[in-house]
Subunit: 161 residues, 2 copies
Amino acid sequence: MPQQKASQKFETNVSKKVDDSGLRQVAGYHLKRAYNIIRSDLSKALEPLGLRITTYSSLILIVGNPGIRQSELATALDIERPNMVVILDDLEQRGWITRERVVTDRRAYALFATLAGRNVSDKAMELDSKSEAKLMSSLTEIEVKTLTSALNKIERIGEEQ
Amino acid sequence: MPQQKASQKFETNVSKKVDDSGLRQVAGYHLKRAYNIIRSDLSKALEPLGLRITTYSSLILIVGNPGIRQSELATALDIERPNMVVILDDLEQRGWITRERVVTDRRAYALFATLAGRNVSDKAMELDSKSEAKLMSSLTEIEVKTLTSALNKIERIGEEQ
DNA sequence: TATTGTTATACTCTATAACTATA
DNA sequence: TATAGTTATAGAGTATAACAATA
């Protein structure tokens, strides 16, 4: 039961009357506004499935990486292990994943999506795609490509540091 | 005293070994990763000035809009009024802004940046620019322009809804 | 001794309800 | 009655410390 407003609130929805030229000069400002819109939209799109974004991301990675360890998943998604536990408890209780003891290392759990989990994952990805398609509808193909490659370049620079 | 890790953590830093193709298909994923990198970097850049991003954004808008009301600022930045109060308390205690009663409406406060506040704002904007320039260094001029216009289009679609 | 998963807990950010003083 | 600012508080997300089981 998310507590956030229907239209998710951050410090970015500058009204027309206010001069935000000081902030508009920086790309991070636009990135934040765009990201918040996409995030808010995705959040609402996933709500009917009972998925939050972190839970959704976790499920997608488990589906794509059968047998992944909890710690690997946590590292991959940059979620602290204690917080990962809660997310996986949720997914497990819904019957969408299973935790199986790794025979070669009995400390670890290997994660697998159930059939129901894969079905939910498919539905969620579809909702995600639809949500995005709507927001990207006014962009040309070239803009989408440039956007993605530009974002990837930023990611890479960030990873180098 | 921020409690976050040096490299801010979200569920996006997928390591090389994990197959994240399911997530990589969606632009929101890249947007999130790029945004988190910029946010983390800006957060660290502003730390020496004792500014957090919301506090920084608020100060910039006050400098650019002398006399803005608290409620206007809150609306502009999409911060709930109760949360705005704390941010402004902080800025006021540091001597960077003043709250002045509006004579025509004694319920309201008009906000003004002090000289010290404007100086800090200038320094902060400089740090912000440097932080961004580093992350944008591998982008061509066309990529930066397309990125900004694409993000603006997404913003506009988001606002329509 | 180190690591995996876990529990308990604390800090930050964001949201709502209700108060006060003005309008 | 409505609005501006405030206070108190609650929820979500994210962080750390410490423990049991296992390596």
